[in-house]
């Protein structure tokens, strides 16, 4: 296992955005989501199961995700999540606002450097 300092804790609220992004790529189960976040972020971001599942269920309850039981790669029953129409709109809005925010933050940081 890699050292703790290499990893970044998720900013409050960003987990929802990450989940929406992963799920937007195609139906996926909870384990798959945690794996992909880890892989895509090159092992920087690690999601604790204790926050992943409550977040998934909250999003499902809000109507942004839809869930169905289906067969996983190893032939077992797993709960697959996919984006609802509402979730798709929400994802677009959140993605835009995240990009604006992060651009703004980096701009300020760069200004400080010069």
């Amino acid at each position: 296992m890699t050292a703790k300092s290499d990893k970044t804790d998720l900013l409050q609220g960003t987990l929802d955005l990450l989940i929406l992004k992963i799920v937007a790529l195609g139906p996926v189960h909870g384990y798959g989501i945690s794996q992909r976040i880890q892989q895509i972020s090159s092992e920087v971001l690690q999601v604790q199961q204790g926050s992943l599942y409550p977040a998934l269920h909250r999003l499902e309850k809000r109507g942004w995700l839809k869930a169905d039981w289906g067969e996983s790669d190893n032939g077992r029953q797993a709960k697959f999540y996919k984006l609802s129409a509402l979730g798709r709109r929400q994802f677009a809005a959140e993605e835009a606002s995240w990009l604006r925010l992060s651009q703004a933050v980096s701009l300020i940081l760069q200004t400080g450097r010069s």
């Binding site: 189960h29 909870g30 384990y31 199961q49 204790g50 409550p54 309850k61 996983s72 077992r76 029953q77």
Partner: protein, 860 residues
């Protein structure tokens, strides 16, 4: 179902977690760990499976609870931030809902619920009318009743009863009891069973069969010490001993709550064979699904058959079938609905007041609402939040209101002890359910408009402008609410104004007799003792003489009816030896009075002389109207009048007396003939004019009667005034309550108008300050507000006048000496309303105009 869903959901959670864990274990094994190690590693990474499941459960289970808690917290914040506003709302609603629920509980128990008998809606009263007589209802003979029961095809059974007085002789002093003689099938028709003992056996219902009585629950408690072994005991009624065979259930108060004993009326007795001896009031139970119209048509068919069979006695009958419930509650139906309407109007006014208050507050919270919008809350979410705040306050209000209403039940019982079915009024599920519905309706009425308006404004507006520098907001919604309130209050004021005028008119009427200082009572007596009218008359005259000898008694008399509280009994008379008779049919109200009646009642003798005792021939006295209408005034003396009944002789008119309102203070005097006859029945009303307080004589009267006639009892001892106020009790109650409601409505409306003007004044402070700084006169600002108030008042008043006119149409039958469109009443209501509205607007308007322009400019 719900439990199943929960379990299923929990299973799903478990399976999902298990899958994740297994996948991690599999990945660990693939990375080269041993299975045991892989498993341990996975569990550590997972970080407490139970904890995660618990968190998930909370996501699902507490979502709605969380929302509720959020709204509750926000409602509590409301209370904390404006405690006086919250208190005002809760108190207003408690009173409004309390009064409404209280009147509803009476409406529900008395008018809506079926009578407390199995299938109570099948019970009907059958009124028979014989065209040969003028009376509205003719009683039915035993044989005819049996025929009606056998020949009809729409009734399960038909039965009847008549009541009489009897003397109980078990105790030391004789005591009066009320006894109902019942036709066969009596309990069967009501479909009730004795709570102790049994019904009459067929043997007990035949002539000279074993004597048997049923007693009411009240009699059983007061006279038999609620003895559980009471069935089979003997009681002595008059001279006969009777076996108590059963005790009726506690709720059975029919046909008359006064009745103590029930005794069978044998069908085969010699005295029940004559079809002319009519006595029964008739009760029937319809077959299931039969309407009163069908039953009435069926009875008409039976009557035609009977008329053919017994042309002499049964030829001219007709029947009217009425649901028993409407007979029992008939009189108060109008009053109760009217009160319910009034109290609902009051609640509506209270609601509009609260809506105006909330609207003001919502506008003040514009900023807060804007922020919530900006944070992404939907409009419906904000509306729901605002409504929840109101709901919490309304719940508090209606809980208090419910307590008030259940207490009001007792108050009502004290206020209106003569209401039918009052014992059935009380706190029950109906009342609670009604209050709950009321609560929701009130929440929507009070909260919806402010919430919708408050959130609409914010949609258009923006964060930045909130609370700053607007000149707008004329408050048209607020003024509309004021108009609605005024219209409702004006309608209530008109109704109570008309009733108050009626009340005043009645108190000014000269009834033609003097009711003060007169004591009334009965002395027990029955036809069973003697049917010799001469003997009866002599007994009563002797008793009267004895009573006259009591110190303090100025005059004494008997009468067949209570002056000022008798039912009209118009009869057709023949005038013999009249000089000229311009009218074909002579009909008059007949009264039987003893010598001394006119002195006792202070009715002046205009001509001739009053009734005298001991004359060998019959005499009569006529009133002024009768003499004027039928006998040409002066020449009336000496004329003979022949009454309708065969057994009575013609009587010579010996005097003319002043008109007296015998049928009620509110009924003009009718042409009346007073038959000089002290004993029209064995227990006429005794009337004593005494020098002091009539009630203080009661004991002396009892002692005297006991001394004169030790086997008789004195009962129904009441001042005459009490009879008269009993008669007016319902109108008095209605007037009192409606006036109270109208006063409350006026107070609420004044507060509402005052609040609206002060709110708008506060809100437009900046604008007023600027205008003053620009040189506007404070007077102009004051008059601007007052004129706006008066305009809303005028619009409301016009609508209110229409409401009022509609309401007074339903009051029509209760009004006396005032028309339902009485201009004076309407005008004074308008004057009152405008004066009050002007004042209510003026005071806050003056305060609003006292803004210091410098302060405002500094804030800008």
């Amino acid at each position: 179902m719900r439990a199943f869903w929960k379990r299923n959901n929990a299973d799903d959670l478990d399976r999902e977690m298990q899958f994740h864990l297994d996948s991690v274990i599999a990945a660990n094994i693939a990375a080269g760990m041993s299975p045991a190690q892989a498993r341990r590693r996975a569990l550590i990474d997972f970080g407490g499976r139970e904890q995660v499941t618990q968190q998930l459960r909370e996501v699902h289970a507490h979502a709605w609870l969380e929302r509720l808690l959020f709204h509750l917290r926000s409602a509590l914040r409301f209370v904390r931030h404006s405690p006086s506003l919250a208190f005002a709302i809760v108190a207003t609603l408690a009173l409004g809902i309390g009064a409404n629920s209280a009147v509803f509980s009476a409406v529900d128990a008395i008018l809506l619920r079926p009578l407390p008998f199995p299938h109570g809606d099948q019970l009907v009263r059958i009124r028979q009318h014989d065209e040969k007589f003028q009376t509205p209802e003719s009683f039915v003979s035993t044989q005819r009743l049996e025929d009606l029961n056998h020949l009809n095809s729409t009734f399960q059974s038909i039965t009847g009863y008549y009541t009489g007085d009897a003397t109980l002789t078990d105790a030391g002093t004789p005591e009066k009891a009320s006894i109902a003689f019942v036709a066969p099938r009596f309990l069967q028709t009501w479909d009730i069973h004795p709570s102790l003992g049994r019904d009459f056996t067929p043997q007990e219902q035949v002539f000279r069969g074993p004597s048997a009585v049923l007693v009411t629950n009240r009699f059983w408690r007061t006279h038999m010490d609620a003895d559980p072994q009471a069935a089979g005991r003997l009681i002595h009624v008059g001279r006969s001993a009777n076996v108590v065979v059963g005790i009726l259930p506690a709720g059975f108060l029919f046909p008359d709550p006064e009745v103590d004993l029930f005794e069978p009326n044998p069908v085969d007795a010699p005295y029940t064979q004559d079809r002319k001896s009519t006595c029964f009031a008739v009760i029937g139970r319809l077959k299931a699904g039969v309407s009163t119209q069908q039953a009435q048509a069926d009875l008409a068919r039976v009557e035609t058959d009977l008329a053919r069979q017994y042309p002499a006695t049964d030829a001219s009958f007709s029947s009217q079938v009425q649901p028993l419930k409407s007979v029992v509650t008939g009189g108060v139906q109008g009053s109760l609905w009217l009160l319910y309407g009034a109290v609902t109007v009051l609640l509506l006014i209270a609601c509009t007041n609260i809506a105006a208050l909330l609207m003001a507050r919502t506008t003040e919270r514009e900023h807060e609402i804007s922020i919530r919008f900006a944070l992404g809350a939907s409009r419906s979410a904000i509306v729901v939040q605002l409504l929840t705040e109101v709901l919490v306050l309304a719940c508090l209000g209606s809980t208090l209101g419910l307590l008030l209403a259940s207490a009001a039940g007792k108050f009502l019982a004290w206020l209106a002890k003569d209401l039918p079915r009052l014992a059935e009024v009380g706190l029950d599920t109906h009342l609670v359910a009604y209050t709950a519905v009321c609560n929701l309706a009130v929440t929507l009425l009070c909260g919806l408009a402010p919430a919708m308006l408050g959130t609409r404004r914010t949609l258009a507006g923006s964060l930045a402008s909130a609370g700053r520098s607007q000149v707008s907001s004329r408050g048209s919604a607020q003024w509309a609410l004021v108009g609605v309130q005024i219209s409702l209050a004006v309608a209530l004021l008109i109704a109570s104004g008309l009733l108050l005028r009626t009340f005043r008119n009645l108190s000014r009427v000269d009834p033609g007799f003097q009711s003060a200082h007169v004591l009334t009572f009965h002395i027990s007596g029955t036809w069973a003792e003697t049917d010799d009218m001469g003997l009866l008359g002599r007994r009563i005259d002797q008793t009267l003489d004895g009573l006259r000898s009591l110190p303090g008694v100025q005059a004494a008399a008997t009468s067949g009816s209570i002056p000022g509280n008798s039912t009209a009994f118009p009869s057709e008379l023949k005038v013999l030896g009249a000089p000229k008779s311009s009218v074909d049919r002579v009909t008059a109200d007949l009264h039987y009075v003893s010598a001394g009646y006119f002195a006792t009642m202070n009715i002046p003798v205009l001509l001739g002389e009053a009734c005298r005792a001991g004359l060998p021939y019959s005499t009569a006295v006529v009133n002024h109207s009768f003499a004027d209408l039928y006998l040409g005034g002066v020449s009336a003396l000496g004329v003979h009048l022949k009454p309708p009944a065969d057994f009575m002789d013609a009587a010579q008119v010996c005097g003319i007396v002043g008109d007296a309102r015998e049928q009620g203070i509110d009924q003009p005097a009718q042409p009346t003939v007073y038959w000089c006859f002290s004993a029209p029945n064995p227990d006429p009303y005794y009337l004593l004019r005494v020098s002091g307080d009539p009630t203080s004589m009661a004991e002396a009267v009892r002692r005297k009667v006991h001394q004169l006639e030790p086997t008789r009892s004195v009962f129904g001892v009441l001042p005459l005034d009490a009879h008269l106020s009993d008669r007016a009790a319902e109108t008095t109650l209605l007037t009192t309550l409606l006036t109270a409601f109208a006063a409350t409505a006026v107070a609420l409306v004044s507060i509402g108008l005052y609040g609206t003007v002060s709110y708008l004044g506060r809100r437009r402070r900046r604008e007023i300050g600027l205008r003053l700084a620009m040189g506007a006169q404070p007077r102009g600002i004051v008059s601007g507000f007052v004129l706006q108030g008066l305009r809303a008042t005028a619009l409301g008043a016009v609508v209110g006048l229409c409401f009022g006119a509609a309401v007074s149409r339903s009051l029509h039958s209760r009004l006396y000496g005032v028309s339902q469109l009485d201009a004076a009443t309407y005008a004074s209501v308008l004057l009152f309303t405008f004066t009050l509205a002007g004042l209510a607007a003026l005071l806050p308007a003056i305060r609003a105009s006292r803004v210091n322009p410098v302060d405002i400019l500094r804030q800008e």
